[in-house]
């Protein structure tokens, strides 16, 4: 790894200790969502719609109920009817009526795999048999999958009560367009007037799934007094608690959610699917209910990210100054509104300092599973289009693609199209680091090409609680409310150790359940090391000032005469007197006599998350006879603010790149003519395997975020933004064909090569 940027004298931050939860995870001890078993536990399963779009005329569950071993059966009729209510609680705008209807269809099934009923039985085999006995009468309706087809005036309507927001005057007819979004800056017409070169291109992408390896899983139990417990793997135990309480109309205090280890999420586990059903089945049966999705269910019924159509128009002078930029983004939301088109619009041109910009976005429902967040939601789609178009612009102008980006790059003081002005950003630093990297001077052979692309993500803070407790022997416990999805226990423990001045192995981080730690917003948006880290640092600093007070008491001097260095209290100032340093352990030992246990809690709403920028360099080789693309070399340069545990920062980048390469080359949903998914498994939904990829070099540029005590920026989102364009640009450099549709799978690339040959 290369680290660029300055670094003060930190003892723990920036080192690479073994993660605290590591041993459990390499020995099979770590308990994930499906690993818990309770006495008397039932198996819950879901009956799903075979139709992409159908009215549910009737559901008869009596035969299923009568089957020996079946203990509970539910349909939408057994769940509260939730009124339409917009709010922003999870990873985006959330309407609880929609969430409820996504968990269990009411009146209509809106996609193949939409849940219509659920059962709990004494064995999986009995539960399966019960599902077969549930009789559902459907009236199949015409369906629509494609985003532009769904926007057509004559398209089959998913929701009779959906009227497009953001258009004036408000439409009188319902449509599948949930929302129209518009951002603009300057004078677009004048900008294109001033342009000497104008490019106008159209791009499409397919839905891709987060494809975490752990299927959704939970166990729910309900006591006779209404007190309920849920054990599940999710990106937020507090999110699960809030959503279940809302969907089942229960007080939040009656639900306790214990986070299991989570086997990957990438945004896909920021919603509930099984938990409310398991809880309802547990209430009806009076027994614990475990529900685990099959891989097929994960693909058919949980949220991928949007497929989209994107139009981009760029105008520039011969000298390479972009004078105008326009984009129209049409994103599939799936069965309910709420695609990531809004952040897509905001991220589209965020990397560039532009005077004249217009961005229009459409959020469009169609008969697919409701989309869920996926790493930098919305940005990868917009950036694939913009960064590919920019590469074409560079070639048209005969400019080096990095030089063109430098000429137009956003810097401190750049006003974004969505409003705010950037401060303390590190985009140009990533371009410079990419230029300086030996990768750019590595020679290429025949049918090989090199592609460059950049990426941006906002990053977020938000609400977090953390506690730091000092044990009697001077070791410490750090409690947070965020599931550890990729090493956050390590980064939190390291920041606490740095502040306390003790070795990290003397700090034990744990993730609390909803009743043992204060509210924390979910693990998403790369916020945990930033926001929860901030809370940990605050709590640790409080502990330190308490420790100095205790030392002052022990020495019988004024607290102002004590300072904390290297994990010990030392006297300071002229009148302090002479005392040997008092280490943490010695103070902890006397805690009882000096006022009781030493611990502190911080509950904050962290602000000041610094945006992240990245520039990627990708080398490919194309087999011109088969259209197969081999990734030869990949370098990902990213401004990470400050890497707390560089290995896990690199890991975030390498993982994001691998997902982006899958998105670029082979991942897609394939539907038949009836709107049924044809590839709901890892055999034909092709995520990259080990032999598909080279080593991925992560270059960490450190432009510290001044709003975080250690300069942290979120690092997990940005890495998935540039790869699709980087690969597309590399393919163009290799064989001269410009791919505008994802995935760039062999049949598509070969066809493009053939067309170019003619």
């Amino acid at each position: 790894m290369t680290v660029i940027g300055t670094r003060e004298h930190l003892k723990v931050v920036g080192t690479r200790p073994i993660r605290p939860d590591g041993v459990d995870k390499v020995t099979g001890r770590a308990a994930f969502g499906a690993d818990l078993a309770l006495p008397g536990m039932l198996v819950g399963k879901v009956k799903r719609s075979p139709h992409a779009h159908a009215r549910i005329l009737s559901i008869d569950v009596e035969k299923a109920r009568a089957l020996p071993g079946v203990k509970a059966v539910i349909t939408a009729a057994d769940l509260p009817e939730i009124p339409s209510e917009e709010s922003f609680v999870g990873e985006g705008p959330m309407n609880f009526r929609d969430l409820s209807r996504n968990c269990m269809a009411r009146g209509k099934a809106l996609y193949e795999g939409h849940a219509v009923a659920a059962v709990a039985a004494t064995s999986g085999a009995i539960a399966d048999a019960a599902l077969d006995l549930i009789e559902v009468e459907y009236e199949p309706l015409p369906h629509v999958l494609d985003v532009e087809a769904a926007m057509a005036a004559d398209a089959p309507l998913l929701h009779e009560d959906l009227f497009t927001q953001g258009v004036e005057p408000a439409p009188s007819q319902p449509s599948n367009i949930a929302k129209r979004i518009q951002f603009s800056l300057g004078d677009l017409a004048a900008g294109f007037q001033a342009a000497e070169v104008v490019l106008e291109r159209r791009y499409t992408t397919r839905p891709v799934h987060q494809a975490y390896i752990e299927p959704h899983a939970c166990v729910a139990s309900a006591a006779a007094d209404g007190q309920c417990q849920i054990w599940c793997s999710s990106q937020g135990q507090f999110m699960v608690r809030a959503y279940c309480a809302k969907l089942l109309d229960m007080p939040i205090s009656s639900i306790r959610v214990t986070p299991a280890e989570i086997g990957g999420g990438f945004g896909g586990k920021t919603l509930v699917y099984l938990e409310p059903l398991a809880l309802a089945l547990a209430k009806q049966s009076g027994r614990p209910v475990k529900m685990v999705m099959t891989r097929e269910e994960v693909f058919r019924a949980t949220g991928p990210t949007s497929g989209a159509a994107v139009e981009v128009k760029l105008g520039a002078t011969r000298a390479g100054k972009i004078t105008a930029a326009q984009a129209v983004l049409k994103y599939q939301a799936g069965a309910f509104p709420g695609s990531p088109v809004q952040p897509g619009c905001m991220a589209a041109f965020a990397m560039y300092d532009l005077e004249n910009v217009s961005i229009t976005g459409y959020d469009v429902v169609c008969n697919r599973p409701k989309v869920a967040a996926y790493r930098a939601p919305g940005a990868p789609i917009a950036s694939f289009a913009v960064e590919t178009c920019l590469d074409e612009l560079a070639r048209t102008l005969g400019m080096d693609p990095i030089a063109l980006r430098e000429k137009n790059a956003a810097r401190d003081g750049t006003r974004t199209a969505y409003g705010p002005t950037f401060r303390d950003i590190g985009y140009v630093e990533t371009l410079q680091a990419a230029k300086d990297h030996p990768h750019l001077r590595t020679p290429l052979g025949p049918n090989q090409g090199r592609g460059i692309a950049s990426g941006f993500w906002f990053n977020v803070g938000g609400e977090s609680t953390a506690e730091v407790h000092i044990n009697e022997d001077g070791t410490a416990v750090v409690v947070s409310g965020n599931p550890d999805i990729g090493g956050s226990r390590a980064s939190l423990a390291m920041m606490a150790a740095e502040v306390l001045g003790i070795p990290v192995d003397r700090v034990r981080p744990i993730v609390g359940d909803t009743s043992s730690i204060g509210f924390s917003f979910l693990t998403g948006g790369s916020r945990v090391t930033f926001a929860t880290g901030m809370a940990v640092v605050q709590a640790a600093e409080e502990v330190v000032s308490e420790l100095t007070r205790r030392a002052a008491m022990i020495w019988d001097i004024g607290p102002e005469s004590v300072e904390w260095t290297d994990g010990a209290a030392v006297p300071t100032g002229a009148h302090a007197g002479k005392f040997d340093p008092l280490p943490l352990a010695a103070i902890a030992l006397k805690a009882g006599r000096t006022g009781g246990p030493i611990s502190a809690k911080a509950s904050i709403n962290a602000q000041g998350a610094g945006p992240g920028f990245a520039t990627h360099v990708c080398d490919v080789e194309v087999d011109p006879e088969t259209g197969k693309v081999t990734i030869l070399r990949y370098t990902a340069v990213q401004d990470v603010g400050r890497a707390i545990h560089p290995s896990y920062v690199e890991g975030q980048i390498q993982g994001g790149v691998a997902q982006g390469i899958g998105w670029a080359l082979n991942e897609e949903y394939v539907y038949d003519g009836n709107g049924r998914l044809e590839n709901p498994g890892f055999l034909d939904y092709r995520v990259p395997v080990a032999s598909d990829l080279p080593m991925i070099e992560a270059v960490l540029v450190e432009v510290p975020n001044p709003r975080h005590p250690f300069g942290v920026r979120g690092v997990g989102e940005v890495p998935i933004v540039p790869p699709m364009a980087a690969v597309a640009n590399a393919i163009h450099a290799a064989v001269g064909v410009r791919m505008t549709d994802l995935p760039m799978s062999p049949p598509r690339l070969l066809a493009a090569i053939e067309r170019a040959g003619r």
Binding site: E296, L665, N679, L683, D684, R686, V689, S691, P746, P747
Partner: protein, 289 residues
């Protein structure tokens, strides 16, 4: 609910009677890498599994008067580890080694790959090109059949009720003979072949092809023998002209479908490419003999 039963006979005769006994609902379980997936998905609802892996002789590779005998239940990983077989039939071995992941290699068998009757089975084109035969045991005794006679269409075989494969035979090879198998998949591993091509050939001392078999997979309901492809090679050296004739012959032999794994156009075009490339590899190998 399922009333699936299991038996693991230790003689071929016991296996045959178990298969014949169960009224049509019995399935041979060797590697199980396709069978268990079908069981889970409900595509197959057998009444009985007859596990043949405990029958002596069904696992293992042995040389027999210049040729080789491969037990029907031999996992592909063992086939790959047999040096002499690898030396004599590199194409058959590389095809067997392409079936699934390392994990699947530890279980998957040639018999399973053949009797699953997928048009995309990797080992089948190579075995047909190699003129491999198999021994079928059944209620009416044993019979020898060419590999191409087993699969009759997607998921269908010519095996009668109570019949099972017990071994494969690969013939003795003339000098300067070699084979090769190539498949196209979108990734580097873990995919089902979109197209497969096997070429088995013999050269004379001058490097002229005296005999050839060309077989394609995944471009028709079953693996297809391409006599025109062989004709394009025999009597010639493998120069670019010969190879383009082979390419054209291979394309002509394709009757593929468009599905989630590939289009008609793509499969047809790539079939020609792979046939050419496989022939070149086989030729190089034969030349080194």
């Amino acid at each position: 609910m399922s009333t699936l039963s299991y038996t693991s006979p230790t003689t071929v005769e016991a296996a045959v009677s178990a298969l014949a006994g169960a009224n049509g609902g019995a399935k041979v379980l060797s590697g199980g890498t396709d069978l268990l997936v079908q069981l889970r998905s409900g595509r197959s609802r057998p009444e009985m599994f007859v596990d043949v892996k405990r029958i002596p002789g069904l696992i293992g590779v042995r040389e027999e008067n210049g040729g080789f005998v491969i037990g029907a239940a031999t996992p592909c990983v063992l086939i790959g580890e047999h040096r002499a077989l690898q030396q004599a039939w590199p194409g058959v071995v590389e095809a067997a080694r392409l079936i699934g992941s390392t994990q699947v290699q530890g279980r998957a068998t040639l018999a399973g790959n053949l009797c699953n009757a997928s048009p995309a089975a990797d080992s089948v084109p190579a075995m047909i090109a190699a003129r491999a035969t198999c021994t079928v045991a059944g209620p009416s005794g044993r019979r020898e059949a060419p590999v191409e006679a087993i699969a009759t269409g997607p998921g269908r075989t010519s095996l009668a009720r109570g019949e099972l494969l017990i071994e494969f035979r690969l013939p003795k090879r003339p000098p300067r003979s070699a084979d090769a198998y190539l498949r196209f998949i979108p990734r580097t591993e873990m995919d089902i072949a979109v197209v497969g091509a096997a070429v088995n050939l013999t050269l004379d001392p001058s490097g002229t092809c005296t005999e050839a078999r060309v077989v394609l997979g995944a471009v028709a309901p079953t693996a297809v023998l391409v006599p025109d492809g062989a004709a394009a090679l025999v009597g010639r050296r493998l120069d670019s002209d010969t190879l383009s004739r082979l390419d054209a012959a291979a394309r002509r032999a394709c009757v593929p479908i468009t599905d989630k794994r590939g289009t008609i156009e793509f499969r047809t075009q790539v079939a020609g490419v792979l046939a050419r490339r496989a022939a070149t590899i086989a030729c190089t190998r034969a030349g080194e003999r």
